[in-house]
């Protein structure tokens, strides 16, 4: 009797699951139309919806590139070609109208590789769940915990260059105000173009004796997000020191020679000089 009861409940639950799955399947195609978020995408944008835009453009052959989630030049030209082909205004900006057109043109598009892997995790828990990547897409395209954050590096720099600089900046100035960290990053960059210093980021940072953080190993600490932000600001052109190539902490500096350089300003504990 008891056994029978268990079978019954199990059967009912199974029925409920399959019915809800069927209804889900019926409603899905409609949802596909507003698969993107409402955000307008333009050159330089990053995020999951950029990735989707790229994947849809790849799907119909306008883009021949990896979907990296960064709206770069290749995506820009692909989008413009799409606009040209579909008789739209050619501006390289993905607004609501374009997204509708693109979604219509890519009806058979079924999610991306990142979503597929996240669904594989699901299927292992829930074997009768069909892999339907689109269920994930509609609303939460920006906040997906198992997607890697999209890294965008300024032109001419790789993500690793920025990491190396962030390490140096963090090791040298982690107790300093934010602007002091931007200033340290700016000094590294100013040395790159200065005749008296090496011409590569690694050359400047690892020059023997140039930075105490390198000499005492503090460069190997894991930098926080703020140090990385400071580095990106400096690369994008913010230079609080207006071209300084040296700095020192007057309390700890043992080098008499550096004290003779023309001082420009003090930020936090550091004196910056030319």
């Amino acid at each position: 009797m008891q056994k029978n009861f268990h079978f019954k409940t199990a059967f009912i639950i199974l029925c409920i699951i399959s019915i809800s799955l069927i209804t889900l399947n019926i409603y899905l195609p409609k949802k596909e139309v507003d698969a993107f978020s409402s955000q307008v995408l333009s050159r330089g944008s990053t995020g999951q919806d950029v990735k989707e835009l790229q994947e849809r453009l790849i799907f119909i052959g306008f883009l021949n590139d990896k979907p990296d989630g960064v709206f770069g030049w290749n995506t820009y030209w692909a989008l413009r070609n799409f606009q040209k082909e579909f008789g739209m205004k050619v501006d390289g900006i993905a607004g609501t109208k374009l997204k509708e057109k693109l979604t219509k043109a890519t009806k058979n598009y079924k999610g991306n590789t990142a979503n597929n892997t996240s669904n594989n995790n699901n299927t292992s828990n829930n074997n009768n769940m069909p892999a339907k990547p689109n269920t994930n897409n509609p609303n939460n395209s920006n906040a997906k915990p198992n997607n890697k954050p999209i890294a965008n590096a300024p032109n001419g720099y790789t993500d690793n260059d920025i990491k190396l600089m962030a390490n140096a900046v963090y090791g040298e100035s982690r107790g300093e105000p934010y602007i002091g960290q931007v200033a340290v990053a700016a000094v590294i960059l100013n040395r790159l173009t200065n005749a008296s210093f090496p011409n590569s980021i690694a050359g400047v940072i690892y020059q023997p004796g140039a930075f105490t953080a390198v000499a005492d190993g503090q460069i190997n600490l894991t930098p926080n997000a703020q140090a990385k932000k400071a580095v990106i600001d400096a690369i994008n052109g913010w230079d609080p020191t207006t071209g300084c190539i040296y700095y020192y902490n007057p309390k700890t500096a043992t080098n008499q020679w550096i004290r003779g350089r023309p001082i420009i300003l003090t930020i936090g504990q550091h004196i910056f000089c030319k």
Binding site: Q39, V40, L41, S42, R43, G44, S45, T46, G47, N64, D65, W73, N74, W77, R80, I93, G95, N142, A143, P149, N152, P154, N155, P177, Y178, I179, V182, N190, T193, N194, A195, S196, F197, P198, G203, Q207, P208, G209, A210, K229, I232, D233, N236, G237, W238, D239, P240, T242, G243, T254, N255, W257, P262, I263, I264, L265, T266, I267, K274
Partner: protein, 440 residues
């Protein structure tokens, strides 16, 4: 009785253990030191060798006349000067000023590169350039002599570079100072012969980093604070402080740095303003940024309206990028459809509410002036014909850029693609030369 024997045995074993541990530590340290010392020695000996070779090569170029032999020789000079500079960068010279010698090597590199790639049949070396070469030759000889002296001292007295490197830690001179003295001597010799290159070889990139002198009324601390509060969009200022920079020499414009603290949200802003004319150089507001609410495209609109409200007219966007929840915009002046790239302003926009949290007008301040835009000699078609045939042009326009000598030139700008890459190509509108090619 038996017990004390055991204790003694244990203590003895411990002593032997510690002794062995100390011995291995000491041996490892010696080994590491030796490795470091060998690296330093290699770098130094390579430096002296490269300087020897550099000196000889410059000597041979002086006697050469034909293009076919001169260009490769100058290319060799270029290679050796870069090599020597890289050797120096590996030596522990923190407490030994050696920057003038390094700058000299960079200068030799720039000079020899520019002359090596030039068509010397059409444009042979001028008398001025020959005299430059002679100056370089004699300076290189002095540096070479100095290095040879140091090398002799190191070999005769068995001096160690590690000692030089450890000067800092012990705050005292190593037992024999001849390495440091030798390098100081070389640097002094170099300092007295600062006439190697003509004015065209001053480093434009370096010069452009500083602030040029401005003309106009000087502002004081209170005016600086007022300008700052006006320029920064985040209000609720709880604390504001202004200090004048110490750049009191003739070459650089002094400026005020203003720091502000805000509440609601808790944030801080740092801003710099020129003393003359009170122009905002830049500001950065550092505040926590919530979830993205507005798109990069909206941020561009916010940025343009901010610039307009602060009286930066005729600005347009030329590049934008997003870093998490921050949009960075590159704006540039455009007059009658001619882009003036030197007059650029960067903006940072918080993508939670579209507030401007960063502004940078340093380049704008240094190059802003009323200019007459010349009429181009070449037509657009003529300029396009100068491009590499494989590049597919997507966009084209007139633009003023800074060339390698830090001079403004009017160019045709072509944005084109080749394979999977996008290129920004600038063709001089008068001569048709490729002024700059950038891979984006």
């Amino acid at each position: 009785m038996k017990g004390s024997w055991i204790v003694a045995g244990v203590l003895g074993a411990a002593l032997i253990g510690t002794g062995y541990w100390g011995y291995t530590q000491n041996r490892d340290l010696k080994e590491m030191n030796l490795k470091a010392e060998n690296n330093y020695q290699r770098a130094f000996n390579e430096l002296t060798f490269d300087m020897d070779l550099l000196h000889d090569k410059i000597g041979t170029t002086l006697a050469m006349n034909s293009r076919t032999s001169l260009s490769p020789a100058l290319a060799d000079v270029w290679r050796l000067s870069i090599q020597a500079k890289s050797d120096i960068a590996q030596l522990p010279l923190k407490f030994v000023p050696f920057d003038k010698t390094q700058a000299f090597l960079t200068g030799v590199g720039n000079f020899s590169y520019k002359t090596a790639v030039r068509d010397l049949n059409k444009e042979p070396l001028t008398a001025k350039e020959y005299s430059n070469l002679r100056n370089i030759y004699s300076t290189a000889e002095k540096i070479q002599d100095g290095l040879r002296n140091v090398q002799t001292n190191i070999m005769n007295k068995n001096l160690s570079w590690i000692d030089v490197g450890q000067m800092s830690a012990e705050r005292k001179a190593p037992r024999d100072n001849s390495i440091v003295d030798g390098f100081k001597h070389i640097e002094q010799v170099k300092a007295t012969t600062d006439n190697d290159f003509g004015p065209t070889f001053s480093n434009g990139q370096e010069e452009s980093k500083g602030l040029k002198k401005l003309t106009g009324k000087k502002i004081d601390e209170n005016e600086a604070k007022k300008i700052a509060e006006d320029a920064v969009p985040l209000k609720n200022v709880t604390k504001i402080q202004a200090t004048r920079s110490k750049s009191d020499n003739d070459r650089f414009e002094p400026f005020y740095s203003v720091t502000m603290a805000h509440n609601n949200p808790v944030a801080d802003t740092y801003m710099e303003i020129t003393e003359t004319a009170g122009l905002p150089i830049f500001f950065i507001t550092n505040r926590p940024i919530a979830k993205q609410q507005i798109s990069l495209d909206d941020a561009v609109k916010k940025g343009l309206s901010y610039l307009n409200s602060k009286n930066y007219k005729n600005m347009e966007l030329y590049d934008s990028s997003q870093y998490d929840t921050i949009g960075v915009l590159q704006m540039v002046k455009s007059i009658d459809d001619v882009r003036i790239y030197p007059e650029a302003i960067q903006l940072k926009v918080a993508l939670d509410n579209g507030q401007i949290i960063g502004f940078n007008a340093k380049n704008y301040i240094t190059s802003n002036h009323v200019r007459k835009i010349p009429t181009p000699k070449l037509t657009l078609e003529q300029a396009r014909a100068k491009l590499n045939k494989n590049v597919k042009v997507e966009e084209e326009r007139l633009a003023i850029i800074l060339n390698d000598f830090n001079k403004e030139v009017l160019t045709y700008e072509f944005l084109g693609t080749y394979n999977h890459d996008t290129y920004d190509i600038f063709i001089n509108s008068t001569t048709g030369d490729e002024e700059k090619v950038k891979k984006l």
